[in-house]
């Protein structure tokens, strides 16, 4: 597969898309871990939901 004289434009486009999509995935994954850790901390300090469901249920 030869990309000819436009290699830099094509590879930059694909690389940028890959970077931004990866950043989105990593951001969402980190956010999930952060929220779960905060919920766990709050539950450990004795604060719990009325339904009694804990962070381990999610």
């Amino acid at each position: 597969m030869s990309l000819g004289p436009y290699t830099s434009f094509i590879t930059t486009s694909y690389a940028l898309v890959a970077i931004v999509v990866l950043l989105l995935i990593v951001w969402i994954a980190i956010d999930y871990r952060t929220q779960k850790a905060r919920l766990r901390e709050l539950e450990a300090s004795g604060i719990s939901r009325r339904s009694g469901r804990g962070v381990s249920d999610f």
Partner: protein
Amino acid sequence: MTLLDLANPSRFLSLTARVLPWLAAATAILLAIGLYQSAMAPDDYQQGATVKIMFIHVPNAWLSMFVWGVMSVASLGTLVWRHPLADVAAKAAAPIGAAFTFLALVTGSLWGRPMWGTYWEWDARLTSVLVLFLMYLGLIALWRAVDDPSRAARAAAVLTLVGAINIPIIKFSVDWWNTLHQGASVLRMGGPTMDRSFLIPLLIMAVAFSLLFVTLHLAAMRNEILRRRVRSLQMMQASRIAFSSEVGTGSREENASKEIGAAE
């Protein structure tokens, strides 16, 4: 399962826990097939190999508008039906939509330089997509500016519905004005004008990116529900601390008056 069943956030969370791994796997498989097909697609007789940029530019451009459409329906859900997950859906979609719009702008610019001779032109299509990107940023800023999510939700819903006017402007800008951007070649009356060797990889990539959006959106909605639970538990904790300190102050005052009484 209906939308009403999903109104219960706990039920929604257990559904996402079951569905997300399958969605992620389907997205990865389709993206791999789409990327392979894109790599194997022939060069265009006019554009040469730069036509490969189309396979990522067009899905991102479609999704930039589709995500705003999803947010508009969610905004109706907030304002009209008061669905508990509607504003969660709208808030979670905004950063993902902004990312797709950014990618549509940048990949379009990188495609434009070799084909048009310029990275940017203030024509109707490019300018209206830039406005869409700025509107996404404005919405994200609005959500962050207001602490209480339910208060932010109504303002954001109104702004989203007003901003939805821009979607048909983007879509038909190439028909209404004389622009550098080409007209529609897939979603048009009379069917696609594109050769199958380009159309098939493009459609596979479009479905793959749509699945990517659904996956990321569900995951971001799950995070937003958890964030709101953290917030409500933190408020419970703060009110307990305030209550116990009030009780403490009250009992100290009581003791002090008893001591004064005893001294008298």
